[in-house]
């Protein structure tokens, strides 16, 4: 191969590597999904129904497996990496999780539902996240509000706390609480208290302030990538500050893809009636039922 030949070969290769002179128009799919300046919401798609593998050997079989797990499997790949959709969805879910930790439960949530409002000793979200001890206690002012709300010790004190997910509380707490009240039937119940900057341990101080026999708290769970809307219910029989955690009963995973809020509420109501009868919660109750 002489020099000229080599040169022409290199020129040809370089020409092939050049981007074509005209920039290509966005592909059809992008154009169709992009109108009025609003992009489609990628988080709206149910991941269990999303399958991105090209030319699957047996898609039906894989879909049957996918329905059993929220894991991001069957997502295909681009070279050695995720496809753009997968990457964006991951970041969107992560953002939703962060948002629900850092945002506050909206004012109309407790105003519209007539839940009396108190907050723990934390002054903002930052303090709430960095000082768990303050999220379990109430200031003297808050204590007197609570005392006025419950002048006589309630049998069951119903509480909604924001916890680590405002989205979970907004999505599930109202329906769940209504179902709990319905299931408790004739048991006299005071108002449902809303607690801002609330840790589970706030139950214990509430128990001490009100003298409640049981404190039942719905609280937002630390969000994950599967859902930011998962709520838990913590129930403590005769709580006091310093009570061992083993004396609490917890029902977790209350959300649209887990236990539906109303069904969880109905279950919690029955559980509360059992606790009143057995006078116990947590592993004490578990032992009695064995």
């Amino acid at each position: 191969m002489d020099k000229t030949e080599l040169r022409s070969l290199v020129e040809e290769l370089l020409r092939d590597l050049q981007p074509s002179a005209k920039p290509s128009a966005p592909n059809k799919e992008v154009r169709e999904n992009f109108h009025d300046g609003i992009l489609p919401d990628i988080t709206a798609e149910d991941l269990r129904e999303q399958y991105l593998v090209a030319d699957p050997h047996n898609k039906d079989a894989f879909m049957a497996l996918k329905r059993k797990t929220p894991a991001r499997v069957g997502v295909g790949r681009a070279g050695a990496r995720y496809r753009t959709t997968t990457m964006l969805r991951f970041r969107a879910d992560h953002a939703a999780a962060q948002d629900s930790v850092f945002s506050l439960v909206g004012e109309n949530f407790y105003k519209d539902n007539h839940f009396p409002f108190v907050k723990t000793m934390c002054k903002d979200k930052d303090e709430y996240l960095t000082r768990p001890d303050l999220g379990r206690r109430f200031s003297p002012e808050s204590q007197s509000i609570i005392r006025n709300l419950y002048p006589t010790p309630p049998k069951i004190l119903l509480v909604i706390g924001d916890g680590l997910s405002s989205a979970a509380v907004e999505a599930n707490a109202v329906d769940c609480m209504k179902a709990i009240r319905q299931g408790l039937g004739s048991i006299p119940l005071g108002e449902t208290l809303f607690v801002q900057f609330c840790r589970v341990g706030a139950s214990d101080h509430l128990g001490e302030i009100t003298g409640a026999e049981i404190v039942c708290m719905l609280v937002g769970e630390r969000p994950g990538l599967v859902t930011a809307e998962s709520m838990s219910c913590y129930i403590t029989y005769k709580p006091y500050p310093g009570i061992p955690e083993s004396k609490r009963t917890v029902i977790s995973n209350i959300h649209r893809q887990g236990t539906p809020a109303v069904e969880a509420g109905a279950h919690i109501a029955t559980l509360l009636l059992t606790m009143l009868e057995k006078k116990a919660s947590g592993i004490d109750l578990g032992r009695m039922q064995e």
Binding site: N58, D60, V174, Q182, V250, G258, T259, E263, Q289
Partner: protein, 454 residues
């Protein structure tokens, strides 16, 4: 919550044989820790398989009722199990036996004789479903993610079920079985009326294996026609049910029932040792296009239906349910099933359909995933407006909402109520509900599908 077991009995009263099995069903909580329990039948263990008895008949149209009862009583004794030990189970009367004059009476008597919550079942579609489950064909289809057509070939009928990835696609039944012709000392002693016009053979005629082969071929041809999608050519007298729908492609065939043993293994012994054409029919199938590389042998053959009745007929309701003021078991409730469309105007739909039932039905509707409290309240009002006079009021829902709905009904003054969820059933089904298990958390139910519609 500690795990619990249920002792279940299955009794199959078939055209040619009567069998019984005892199984232990292990009820386990499958939910993750700190969530609401989710009880499931996690394991099924067969404890005892009876001998295989000929079904005692008084004559061609009557079952020998006390003879059947003696067999069952003897098997209970041999297994060392008393009636009080039995928690659940099913008696199924199958094939030609189901058409005997006293079939219903024998079935009812036997189910109450066998235990408090042992339910009576019959019907070709249900038989197909139980044989498919009991044989292991359903599991094979699920595990291997394939389309599988299963035949349970008994004395009087062939029950078929088609699975796609473990889900039932369709069921059907043909009047093809090993005991359509009975032979004694080389003489035909019985020819089933379903063979009228299909053979020239006569009762009283001396007959050889070779002379019976053409008839066996006719019967096997009908099965082949079924598989290749030419079901319309099957003579009407051989059809028990409407022709089943089949998909374009079938990956695997499997066989169970008494005849199956002669498809998979043939000892070359006397073809008439059971006094019928069962052996010949099995051999003919083994030589036909039905027996190929696509054919598998399921776990159970002759015992498929009885294992289905014993181990697979009972299921559990969802784990958050309501019941109040009801004496269990509730037996044989006809199901008033509503579609997704109908449940959107629930009270009208219930009012319209309940007139069809002579006894109070169980009301089934698919329900809503993650309903709001207002929706639950509305549904409760609609039910009470159209069925509030029923006592007990039995509601079954597909979606997980039974406990909330039940409490909403009780809050509105309903007395005598069962509200179960996480179940699926269609029109024409019957429902039996047993006494609570797992500390009262769940109810065992038996859903008897009489019509299968996809």
């Amino acid at each position: 919550m500690t795990d619990e077991t249920l002792l279940s009995v299955g009794i199959d009263l078939g055209t040619s044989t009567t069998q019984l099995v005892f199984s232990r069903l292990h009820v386990k909580n499958r939910a993750a820790a700190f969530t609401i329990p989710q009880m499931e039948i996690a394991e099924k263990e067969i404890l005892y398989k009876s001998d295989i008895h000929f079904t005692p008949l008084l004559d061609d149209s009557t079952i020998h009722g006390s003879g059947v009862r003696e067999i069952v009583a003897e098997e209970y004794r041999k297994a060392g199990i008393s009636l009080a030990d039995v928690d659940t189970g099913a008696v199924i009367i199958t094939g030609e036996t189901a058409r005997k004059e006293n079939a219903e009476a024998v079935l009812a008597e036997l189910s109450s004789f066998a235990g408090d919550f042992v339910v009576a079942t019959a019907g070709p579609h249900l038989e197909s479903i139980l044989a498919g489950k009991g044989s292991g064909a359903e599991e094979y289809s699920r595990e291997h993610r394939c389309t599988l057509l299963h035949f349970d070939i008994g004395g009087g009928t062939t029950n078929m079920v088609l699975y796609q990835n473990g889900e039932i696609y369709s069921t059907g039944c043909l009047n093809i079985g090993g005991r359509l012709v009975k032979v004694n000392d080389g003489v035909i002693v019985y020819i089933s009326p379903v063979l009228d016009g299909l053979t020239d053979l006569q009762v009283g005629q001396k007959v050889t294996e070779a002379e019976l082969l053409p008839l066996c071929k006719t019967l096997v041809n009908a099965l082949e026609d079924m598989v290749i999608g030419a079901g319309e050519t099957i003579p009407l007298s051989l059809r028990t049910t409407a022709l089943m729908k089949l998909p374009e492609k079938i990956d695997v065939l499997s066989f169970s029932g008494g005849v199956a043993d002669f498809i998979y293994t043939d000892s070359q012994e006397d073809a008439f040792r059971y006094g019928d054409i069962g052996v010949l029919l099995g051999r003919t199938i083994a030589k036909s296009r039905l027996y190929s590389a696509k054919t598998i042998r399921p776990t159970e053959t002759i015992r498929a239906t009885v294992v289905g009745a014993g181990s697979h007929s009972t299921q559990l309701s969802g784990s958050t349910i309501s019941y109040d003021g009801v004496e269990f078991p509730l037996k044989n409730l006809p199901v008033l099933a509503l579609s997704e469309e109908e449940q959107s105007h629930l009270s009208d739909a219930i009012r319209k359909k309940r007139a069809w039932f002579s006894s109070p039905p169980a009301i089934f509707f698919p329900g809503w995933k993650n309903p709001s409290f207002e929706q639950i309240s509305h549904v409760a009002e609609e039910i009470l407006a159209s069925a509030g006079d029923m006592s007990p009021l039995v509601i079954a829902v597909g979606a997980d909402m039974g406990k909330a709905l039940g409490q909403a009904l009780v809050a509105r003054g309903q007395k005598g109520l069962v509200c179960v969820d996480s179940l699926s059933m269609g029109s024409g089904a019957y429902l039996d509900i047993g006494p609570p298990v797992a500390g009262g958390a769940v109810l065992p139910v038996v859903i008897k599908t009489l019509i299968f519609e996809k």
